[in-house]
Amino acid sequence: MMDSLIQAMHLVFQPQVLLVMLASSVYGIVIGAIPGLTAVMAVSLIMPIAIFLEPVPALAAIISCDAMAVFAGDIPGTLLRMPGTPASGAYTDDSYKLTQQGKAEMVLGANCFFSAVGGLMGLLVLITAAPMLAEVALNFSTYEYFWLTCLGLTCATFMTSKDTVKGIVSLFIGLFITTVGFDMITGQPRFTFGSIELLAGIHVIPVLIGLFAISEIMRRVSSTTPPDASYDGKIGHIYKGVFKLWRNHLPNFFRGNLVGIVVGALPGAGADIAAWLAYAISKKFSKTPEKFGTGHMEGIIEATSANNSALASAWIPAFVFGIPGDVTTAMVIGILYIKDLKPGPTAFIEHPEIIYSVFICFAVANIFMLILGYYAIKTFRHILRIPPFVLLPIILVFCIVGSYSINNSLFGVAVMLFFGVLGYIMEENDFPISPMLLAIVLGALLEKNFIISMVKSSGNIADFFERPIAGSFAAIAIMIWLYPLFRKLYRVMRVKKA
């Protein structure tokens, strides 16, 4: 272990890796601080560059960019009541009310400090839980992986969908997309219609750039609310009194982290859900729930800790099982496969230095956050000066180059455009896009594990339930699938009784 740790330190503490982390941090802060541009969009745009980097700098870039963008989303939320990212939306009203009361420094200091410490708490759990779970996962067969993938996709669909039917549609369209191209089992081309480009399948990177970046650009240029915003107030010393605040809100801090870690580790959930849930739990347990929404630090501390601690714990299912915890880790899994670093329990044996490098990168990114966050808050008004209508077309160029560079083909650009328009239509009509992306990442794994399991069991479905862990996963998954049906039946029976 020590050897791997030392090797990982050598890999991370290289000038070029630290420079990549610094650059991605600044980039993440700029995108996160611009209202409407999400952390997912920031990460999806960094992917085309990450593909060309060595594995450690690539992962370091994604970690820093994601952490900074989620934190930076707090800045416009606090100063302008315009959350930079959805993860900051939960406590925007409280933050803004405190700004109106002249306490902007305190809130921003708390945002930065608790985000960084929350990130470190999540990292602590990642370091302790991931290797232990990996040892268990080493005994997993295709049956366990099949059910675990089902569970991940199920959670993603049920947790991110306001409308379950539309969530299921998104999921299965994603699964269908993974079937386009050569079938890896039989070598048979599927849904290629004679196209040579389609034989290799639909690559995940142009799809995610389309779904998250192009659709967002389309939404922003057609927004009826003016995109320009400004802040003229002055910001003083942001960390003044932050330790006192920490001491006074220790239960909120720990509960927020706990919620973030648990929600983050659930496949399909992520920082956004963690923040909203932590805020709701904070209100539920507060002695002064009536103060929530009027400028109360309890909810802010709990939710801002939760959204950053969720970022690290989302890597637990990604690393241990190869099942992404959120959209960002779904992209990371895509990168790992491209780099020939298959995620899963064997990763802890085959390339532990990469795993330890990720841990170190998380720590460094959160320390960067304390320093860069300070300057980001100070220079926020300058970030806002970047006119969105200049930035968006330039982001479009990055999207095009990113999609092109995957296979050096314009086909990737066309795929990006198709999924951009599809993502726009889907989101406008309440179809969640996260289940589709997760399905595209996991579809091949699901199909492979299913077919191999069926061949192993000579077509006997009962074998899928016989092993204890596989059976338990199956039971949980089936219970989640049937829950809406039982709930409906229960309601009908109650109405009939009444």
């Binding site: 240029v221 314009l410 951009g420 069926m454």
Partner: protein, 152 residues
């Protein structure tokens, strides 16, 4: 822009039927009932089920087939949203002839000018950005960006 669940229902039903028919033409593994067509059929069955549910829900709700968003009342915003796919299509059609840098300069200058109505600043920002992107991807990352007749 809200589209009725009825429309989505019909589209999904047609799509899933097509996938089901296509999947039947795919061969199975020797000695097994399933093969290349199993997984697409499995997805299509769920899409079909959801399509029927959406269609039934839409018929029950009797909602309008299409409710246009606020942005459709403004011709400028309609043009803005169309401009994004149009720019990408322009890029796909032209880049192999013009080359990366000239195509990006033309495409982005026009887009920024359309959105902000400031030509000179659009041109300056775009030219600088295009050169930076070109140098970064083409020279540092070694991505063979389309060169066009100018070699750029």
């Amino acid at each position: 822009m809200k589209i009725s669940d009825r429309v989505f229902g019909v589209i999904l039903i047609c799509f899933s039927i097509f996938v089901l028919i296509y999947s039947r033409s795919l061969p199975s593994l020797p000695g097994y009932k399933y093969g290349s067509g199993f997984f697409p059929s499995f997805s299509a069955i769920f899409i079909l089920g959801c399509g029927i549910l959406l269609l039934v829900r839409g018929v029950r709700l009797k909602d309008k087939l299409l409710v246009l968003g606020d942005w459709t009342k403004s011709p400028t915003l309609v043009a803005n949203i169309c401009l994004i796919p149009a720019s990408v299509i322009f890029y796909i059609l032209v880049v192999n002839y013009l080359g990366f840098v000239p195509t990006v300069i033309v495409m982005t200058t026009f887009t920024i000018w359309w959105l902000r109505r400031r030509f000179v600043s659009s041109l300056v920002v775009t030219t600088i950005s295009a050169v930076i992107v070109y140098v970064f991807f083409s020279k540092i990352m070694l991505v063979p960006l389309p060169a066009g007749f100018l070699g750029l």
